[in-house]
Assembly symmetry: C2
Homo-oligomer: 248 residues x 2
Amino acid sequence: MSYILVTNDDGVYAPGIRALHDAVRHLGRAVIVAPERDKSAVSHALTMNRPLLVRELEPDVHTLDGTPTDCVTIGMNKILPQMPDLLVSGINPGANLGDDISYSGTVSAAIEGTMYGIPSLSFSLAGEAPFDFETAAAVAWKLASMALEFGLPEKTLLNINIPQRPPAMIRGIRFTRQGRRIYKNAIQETYDPWGRKHYWIGGGTVHWSGGDETDEHAVNDGYISVTPIQLDLTNHEGRDFLRHHWRM
Amino acid sequence: MSYILVTNDDGVYAPGIRALHDAVRHLGRAVIVAPERDKSAVSHALTMNRPLLVRELEPDVHTLDGTPTDCVTIGMNKILPQMPDLLVSGINPGANLGDDISYSGTVSAAIEGTMYGIPSLSFSLAGEAPFDFETAAAVAWKLASMALEFGLPEKTLLNINIPQRPPAMIRGIRFTRQGRRIYKNAIQETYDPWGRKHYWIGGGTVHWSGGDETDEHAVNDGYISVTPIQLDLTNHEGRDFLRHHWRM
């Protein structure tokens, strides 16, 4: 029997993780280990300054007061009876595209799984509230079964974004590259009750670049975007640049 | 005049950032924007659920109750009078090598700077306490001046690790690749006063792989390791793998 670890960054009570759990439990024993609370935008943060208590809410549904990365490492090493065959993260309400994946707890959970050598998929629903996870969950089931059957490129996770539209209006799958997302004026100014200025990160306008093979382009065209993301961050050509241009 | 943004993840009172600030202020106007408290292992986390108050502790030394990424985005957009010519992060007390850079607030600050198109350097002192930042600060000054003079590869930051040893025993610089770090048994079990088992992430043993051109190999050989790290995480060969192996 396959074991599947299910996690997210929106917390164990989020509807997206329940939809994902229901979808992949047809492929094996699917065990949720997810944060107690919303941990969006925590990126790959790891809690090392305090111990973490795990609670079992119901059979195969566990939660802890930590980050998605905490859930993956403790789930794999301490909660599952063996290393899983697959990790799935999500379904995030809202896209994870371009540079934004660097901030994403949903994607970081899949990075952590990949570090352990486990095929790992991150799922996001590209759209706006109200979110309906039904179509995305069916897509997640399909792609998870393909990951189990055909495997993934080595040391690589998949960042998957599913456009929020009726199934008949999804045009297919594209294997994409990560786009470039540039924010303008994404910090607002506000004042506290004592008149002191504060900064609040968010909002602003978004500009995209990176060409027509990007994740963002695919989703806007109505395709499911599947981007293979690698662990090795080295710019190998950059090493040559430095050897030739930096005169010591 | 050059503007240089100085940040870290250990907080504004850490000795490493003061050593770095003292070193790079010879190259231009160096402005610290750093977290109020230790934010190690927060990775690329961004605070979007509350406003942030900036305090000026002394001229050109600012702090806020947020993450390194918060400091970079607010520092560049709201505190400096213009976009900086260079960003430096650190000096972290302890190495940031291999897969660990994914968790690192020090490195994430440089990622954020690179997203804004600013040449960004992350500095870590590879060694153990007690830390002496004097040699590392001199190296930081040298490498920062070279980054200003010769530039960096496009969309690429430098992750720099300096071995903690006397200057005469540093053997030179190597342009390295990111190594692979694998932890074993890195979760400890402990009990609270009520007898409940908790998990504490940390400790364990470390195994390295990735060959003799890695960051870890260079530092252990007594070299300064300079690893170019790119923003594009796409595994481009992985797209071909998926196109050929995934039969829809």
